[in-house]
């Protein structure tokens, strides 16, 4: 006895056979145990495959995806702070150092010979003042920035702008490294 082709069996099992095909083969299926079993087998294969347990990704998967997409969207301020702990720490340290140094310069005459007690600190302060002055003069020649005194709030403002530029460069560099998959 000629059995039903397997592609038709699959269609019948999926209930996707056309009426014409059903009319042609249903009578045969009723009589033929082998074809009945084939239809059952195809239904079972589908049923069992549908019940097969799914593969789950790792526990951190969703967090990993979110960490990728949140920088492109809106990040809460404390999340930004947490992710930029290094930058925040560096900024605070630099500002603290500047405030400390400037508080000393107001009470110290740098042109005088340093006393034995504060020799090293005074030397550092003098170097810092000279470097600040050089940077200021260099930028003043190139972009003609408004005048402000090098000591006191002027230096602090200059340092803050420098820090902001550094953080900006750091952010761009981090994104670039992430894209190259050097950073996660």
């Amino acid at each position: 006895m000629e059995h039903i082709p397997l592609d038709i069996i699959c269609k019948i099992a999926d209930e996707k056979a056309e009426e014409k095909e059903l009319d042609q083969y249903l009578a045969h299926i009723e009589q033929c145990k082998i074809c009945q079993k084939e239809v059952e087998l195809q239904r079972s294969i589908l049923k069992i495959s549908r019940n097969k347990p799914l593969v789950t990704p790792s526990k951190t998967f969703t967090d990993n995806v979110l960490s990728e997409v949140i920088p492109a969207g809106k990040k809460k301020w404390y999340e930004w702070m947490l992710n930029n702990m290094g930058n925040v720490f560096a900024m605070v340290s630099v500002i603290a150092f500047l405030v400390y140094v400037l508080s000393l310069t107001e009470n110290t005459d740098l042109n005088q010979e340093p006393s034995n007690k504060n020799t090293q600190i005074t030397e550092i302060m003098k170097s810092f003042k000279d470097i600040s002055l050089s940077i200021y003069e260099y930028f003043n020649k190139s972009i003609n920035i408004p005048d402000f005194p090098i000591s006191g709030m002027g230096t602090l403002s200059f340092a803050l702008i420098a820090i902001i530029i550094l953080v900006f460069i750091d952010q761009i560099l981090s994104k670039f490294l992430k894209r190259l998959k050097i950073l996660s």
């Binding site: 009945q36 084939e38 087998l41 079972s44 995806v65 990728e68």
Partner: protein
């Protein structure tokens, strides 16, 4: 009651980026299963899937609801995984079996199965589970979309971008491979001269 995809996407587009996590949690297991069928390696599958979800997020505002969200999502997952598989192939770790949609119907040479077997046995389930994982990626991915995602032929065409005939051919071949493996491993063939097929 859980939110529908549409509601979740509305929240995300309104600025609640964290809601994207709900969308990821909702679809990640089925999408991971599809990725595994294509890439056959957990690490590669997870990396490709993460990449796919990031693409989904970036394209979310341009999604026009011309198809269901899941069809669109699986299209991105499928394309990302195929692209990852292609890159791996270039490195020499992967082979893609090509198929011809017209060649399947007349070349079936298969034994009949015994009519008295119990198709509900645990052993049969175990064998099918194992054999589904062994299906070549081209058949495994189409079969996964058909079974696990419960997609119609037309939806599979939308996801894979393949012609309808190729989708049907791949599905048929996948089922044929599972049937052959089952007959071989369970020794289900009728021991007599073949009458049909």
């Amino acid at each position: 009651m859980s939110d529908t995809d549409k509601e979740i996407i509305k929240h995300i587009l309104d600025g609640d980026v964290r809601s994207f996590g709900i969308l990821v949690d909702k679809h990640k297991a089925k999408a991971m299963t599809l990725a595994m069928r294509i890439l056959k390696n957990r690490e590669d599958a997870e990396e490709a899937l993460q990449d796919a979800f990031v693409r989904v997020y970036r394209a979310l505002s341009s999604f026009e609801w011309k198809s269901s969200f899941s069809t669109w999502l699986y299209r991105i997952v499928y394309n990302t995984c195929i692209s990852a598989a292609g890159k791996r192939e270039k490195k020499g770790h992967f082979s893609v079996e090509l198929d011809d949609e017209n060649e399947y119907i007349n070349e079936i040479e298969s034994p009949d199965i015994q009519p008295d077997i119990d198709l509900e046995s645990k052993e049969i389930s175990k064998i099918i589970y194992e054999e589904v994982d062994k299906l070549p990626d081209v058949y495994g991915s189409t079969f996964t979309l058909f079974t696990i995602q419960d997609m119609s032929y037309e939806e599979i065409v939308q996801v894979t971008g393949l012609p309808l005939g190729t989708v049907k051919a791949r599905l048929f071949r996948a089922r044929l491979m599972l049937r052959e493996a089952l007959i071989k491993r369970m020794d289900l063939a009728v021991v007599k001269e073949k009458e049909g097929y």
